[in-house]
């Protein structure tokens, strides 16, 4: 093989560069390839639904397949260090999220009066990133329930939009692992890089088998949710599209009023249970089905997760009903439990029937909103499809605080950080602390940047926290009955999209994906010789 001149001069760079490129390109190619069947299905749905974007979806499917195949077949897995693995996952996500905007761009989904092509392109990228990262924030204002002549979104495009979240929920790199036998023990590294939470659960000695189990469970869970939604009163189309985004805890809906469109208590109950199910560690579901029926009860993180849900629901219900913000306790409980489940699982569905209805939580008083903001920060369980910083990290932080207090009292005392009676390794404690410190820095930096770009204070704060936690709706002008279009200027929306990606990949992958090329470039620089 012919080497580039710089590679011939510097062998270290030559191998490092080739290996880095090879691994990243290989994995990203497979990720692109894995999306193309979804695009084909979306094209068929569009065709059956009588929409005019079937061709665009088919073209995109071909582009994804050809480009993905070329990248995959043209390379081989090279260096599989921790850094390369994280970089491969990061670049795959960036590539898929950005190229995923192609169907929206080709179908002119975000075309609107007064918006330039660049803004339209930006909106398409925002929607795609929001979809794949399972955030659920939207800039789409032409959903079918609006009626009128401007309902220009076909069923295929809507289906693809829902499907982006379903792919992102369990993670398409994890999907790739299931077909890559050559990864061996390194597969767990890829899973760890993509999986939410401090560590990835291993359900089988082989990581690829673990990925397969989780994906099978994910498909099964989605199907079960679709059946449950149908039983609760949805038609099949709504049931399938909503189950895709519920399992993924994404929150995209095919209606502007989200679940509130149905105004049905049974549907809201099913959605709540499904959202909480999605926000729970999927490994627990697997163990429940295969080994132990009491596994959920035994898990300390699950107990904390449910306790958080119950406490927040009761507190908000009481405040809403006693403060006169809703008519009675029943309505308050219905409204609060749904929205708390939506935030605690980072799904982002709403049950408001239009602006000003009880479910429109931006109109709630400050204390319930503070609770909602805290839920947005904490999010769901590790190993789930949910976002946020995860319940387990909050528990580790509480344990660290407790230890700090003990050390403050007795300087020489050695206090391990314990969770559920088990000692947490110091390496994990340190990593959690680093993650949370970086999270705080990102929230502060993002908040300043978004307000500097023209965002309103309340919406910016909730928008940044929500984007990093992949929540969906924010507060202020970006509430559950509104879109991000009016709340944030176009540049601010791009910052939020970047934060969604950082939040979904939990920081490390994004850091390493930018650090690695810099490192390779530094190695490529000619060095001064001292003699």
């Amino acid at each position: 093989m012919l080497l580039h001149r710089s590679e011939q001069k510097n062998p270290a760079f030559a191998t490092g560069s080739r290996r880095w490129h090879a691994t990243v390109t290989h994995i990203a190619g497979l990720a692109l390839l894995s999306i193309s069947p979804g695009l084909v299905i979306s094209a068929i749905v569009e065709l059956v639904g009588g929409g005019d974007a079937a061709g665009m979806l088919a073209i995109t499917a071909v582009i994804f397949a050809v480009l993905g195949a070329a990248m995959w077949r043209g390379t081989q897995l090279g260096d599989l260090t921790l850094r390369t693995v994280f970089a491969a996952v990061g670049w795959s996500w960036l590539l898929v999220s950005v190229l995923g905007a192609l169907p929206f761009v080709l179908a002119r989904t975000f075309q609107r009066e007064g918006a330039s092509r660049w803004v339209e392109l930006g909106d398409a990228v925002f929607e795609s990133v929001s979809g794949y990262t399972c955030t659920g924030s939207t800039v789409l204002t032409t959903l079918p329930d609006l009626g009128g002549d401007d309902t220009q979104v076909g069923r295929g495009i809507l289906f693809y939009r829902q499907l982006t979240q379903w792919y992102g929920g369990m993670g398409f790199v994890q999907l790739v692992i299931t077909v890559l036998p050559t990864l061996g023990s390194k597969a767990i590294g890829f899973m760890g890089a993509e999986s939410p939470g401090p560590t990835a659960d291993r359900l089988s000695p082989h990581a690829a088998d673990t990925a397969k189990i989780l994906w099978k469970l994910y498909v099964g869970g989605t199907a079960a949710m679709a059946v449950a939604f149908t039983a609760a009163g949805m038609n099949w189309w709504d049931a399938i599209t909503h189950s895709l985004t519920t399992a993924a805890t994404g929150g995209f809906s095919t209606y502007n009023d989200s679940i509130g469109e149905f105004d049905s208590l049974p549907i809201e109950i099913v959605a709540q249970i499904a959202m909480l199910f999605g926000g729970t560690n999927w490994a627990l579901h697997y163990l429940f089905l295969t080994k132990r029926r009491t596994v959920h009860k035994e898990d300390h993180e699950f107990r904390a997760y449910i306790a958080m849900y119950v406490a927040a629901t009761l507190a908000i219900s009481l405040i809403l009903s006693t403060g006169g913000e809703v008519d009675n306790f029943g309505t308050a409980l219905r409204t609060a439990s749904f929205n708390v489940a939506s935030m605690a699982s980072s799904t982002g569905f709403g049950n408001a029937q239009g602006a000003g209805s009880p479910g429109d939580f931006v109109l709630w008083s400050a204390t319930p909103l503070v609770i909602m903001l805290l839920l947005m920060v904490i999010g769901g369980m590790s190993g789930s499809t949910a976002g946020g910083t995860k319940v387990i990290r909050t528990r580790v932080l509480i344990a660290i605080s407790h230890r700090t207090l003990a050390v403050a009292r007795q300087p020489r005392v050695i206090v391990p950080v314990k969770l559920g009676g088990d000692v947490v390794k110091e390496r994990v404690v340190h990593r959690v602390s680093f993650f949370m410190m970086a999270y705080v820095a990102l929230v502060v930096g993002g908040f300043l940047l978004v307000t500097a770009l023209g965002g309103e204070l309340e919406a910016s704060l909730a928008g940044v926290v929500g984007s990093l936690g992949n929540m969906g709706p924010a507060f202020g002008a970006a509430g559950p009955t509104a879109t991000f279009l009016d709340a944030f200027p176009a540049p601010a929306r791009m910052v939020l999209a970047l934060l969604m990606l950082i939040g979904r990949l939990e920081l490390f992958a994004v850091l390493l994906m930018f650090a690695l090329p810099r490192q390779v470039a530094r190695r490529a620089k000619p060095h001064k010789h001292t003699f």
Binding site: V370, I400, A408, L448
Partner: protein
């Protein structure tokens, strides 16, 4: 009795007595001010207050004589001593506020006293001009006295507080020259510097156009970062740029580390410029000023300077309505209030030293992530920071965050929107004393008794850096437990 005063409990009479003496002196001074300045209708009350002050001094001096048999001071004990002193000081102040009868309910009195003594500056008084001179003076004298106490603890001057101070971020100064070698000299130097700053501010304000009483009270308020004002519009009442510049300079100085000022006076400019924390503090003031001034906020240069220094030093004085400005300017001010002042200063907040440590820790973790085999240490001002100390810093960060979150939920002010609630909670925990829109709490809503009590506890937590209060509460329960009759094993035999 011996059992009651065993351990830390035996050490508490001394700080409690000192607190009573300090409170007594403050109350007596303010009542004397009242006797001179207020009209005759207040004379009886002032005499009662003078009597209260003198009795407190006598009881305090008597308690100082109580000697503990066990003179070993544990870290937790040192913190409890600090809390005991603070409680005693407030007891006298609360009694004085109650005697005056000028404030509303008991919750109002607690809120006002705690707000003043924690150098926060929140008030429920709509128009301070309606208060007597004595009370206005007491509201600014209290933070000045407790500010001195904070300085003595944070600079490690009070021997009993040295153990406790190890947990405060001032400890990176270990190994560097201290303010003096003996405790008495250190006390004199600290008092001298603090007094000098206050005196300079009195002169500055007077020259800028304030009357003597206003100059004195605003100087006390500025030097202590207390932020209590004599006017509902705070500095905005004067509408005078010179006064605003004096206030901005004073607040910036008050939020700076006194030890760094000492080095500058001693000509040790090498140490001054080497201070990472000082560089960070100055950078943040400059960046904040530029951002607020030129972000379309509509604030003048002096207003912008007052806004930034007021938030960073956690003073809370204000000269304009910041809400009229840009959203970005308000975001900057909100973040500034969260960061707070330098360690070794009267200011509060999370502190610049901790921010510097956390930033360096994040950088190190990032480097370790890129190069897992790498081993590195965090250095501040060229001095390696112990790993244990770093752990305590980020442990404190999470305690601070949980306190802020808890306050935001528990304050429960239905009339507030989300931002006002967060701003109020941040103002409480960071002891800023002003909302992010530049308004006082009294201009917004009537707080409930619950909100006032929760806010008072929050201000106390923020001012004393959380640990001492929690450890004292824990120690109190352990002490109560010790008083319970225990079963003796084998008693029947």
């Amino acid at each position: 009795m011996n059992n009651l005063l065993k351990g830390t409990a035996g050490l508490l009479p001394l700080p409690f007595g000192l607190g009573l003496v300090a409170g007594g002196i403050t109350v007596t001074t303010s009542s004397v001010v009242g006797l001179v300045a207020d009209d005759d209708s207040f004379a009886t009350v002032r005499l009662f207050e003078t009597a209260l002050g003198l009795v407190s001094i006598i009881i305090g001096l008597a308690l100082c004589k109580v000697q503990s048999t066990d003179l070993r001071v544990s870290r937790a004990g040192a913190m409890s001593m600090f809390v005991a002193g603070w409680v005693a000081f407030n007891t006298v102040a609360i009694a004085s506020f109650l005697l005056s009868g000028e404030l509303g309910s008991f919750a109002d009195v607690i809120f006002e006293a705690v707000s003043a003594s924690t150098t926060t500056g929140f008030t429920t008084v709509d128009d301070p001009q309606q208060l007597s001179f004595a009370l206005r003076f007491l509201r600014v004298a209290m933070p000045w006295v407790t500010g001195l106490g904070v300085l003595l603890v944070s600079l490690g001057v009070l021997p009993a507080a040295v153990a406790g101070a190890e947990l405060l971020p001032e400890r990176p100064l270990r190994g560097r020259s201290k303010i003096a070698t003996t405790s008495m000299d250190a006390f004199k130097n600290t008092l001298g510097l603090y007094g000098l700053l206050t005196f300079a501010l009195v002169i500055g304000y007077a020259f800028a156009g304030m009357g003597f009483f206003d100059a004195l009270t605003y100087a006390l308020s500025t030097a202590s970062t207390g932020g209590m004002s004599n006017h509902a519009e705070s500095l905005g009442h004067f509408n005078n740029e010179a006064i605003e510049w004096v206030a901005a300079a004073g607040m910036a100085a008050a939020g700076g580390n006194l030890l760094v000022v000492w080095w500058a006076i001693k000509g040790r400019f090498g140490s001054v410029f080497k201070s990472t924390e000082l560089r960070l503090y100055i950078s943040l003031i400059l960046v904040g000023f530029i951002a607020v001034r030129f972000s379309g906020s509509g604030l003048s240069s002096s207003d912008s300077a007052v806004a930034v220094t007021s938030m960073l030093s956690t003073t809370g004085l204000r000269s304009a309505n910041w809400a009229a400005g840009s959203q970005f300017a308000q975001a900057i001010l909100l973040v500034a209030a969260g960061i707070g002042a330098m360690s070794g200063s009267v200011g509060s907040g999370f502190r610049q030293a901790r921010v510097a440590r956390i930033a360096l820790e994040v950088r190190r973790s990032l480097q370790n992530l890129l190069t897992p085999t790498r081993t590195s240490i965090v250095r501040i001002d060229g001095v390696a920071v112990e790993e244990r100390s770093l752990e305590l810093t980020y442990g404190y960060l999470w305690m601070h965050a949980f306190t802020l979150a808890g306050m935001s939920v528990l304050l429960f002010v239905p009339a507030f929107d989300l931002l006002a609630t967060l701003s109020f909670a941040l103002g409480i925990v960071s002891n800023v004393g002003v909302l992010v829109d530049g308004d006082e709490i009294a201009q917004h809503v009537e707080l409930s008794g619950w909100s006032k009590l929760v806010a008072s506890f929050g201000m106390l937590l923020g001012r004393l850096s959380i640990y001492p209060v929690l450890l004292t509460i824990g120690g109190f329960f352990r002490w109560l437990n010790r008083l319970k009759p225990h079963k003796v094993i084998g008693a029947q035999a």
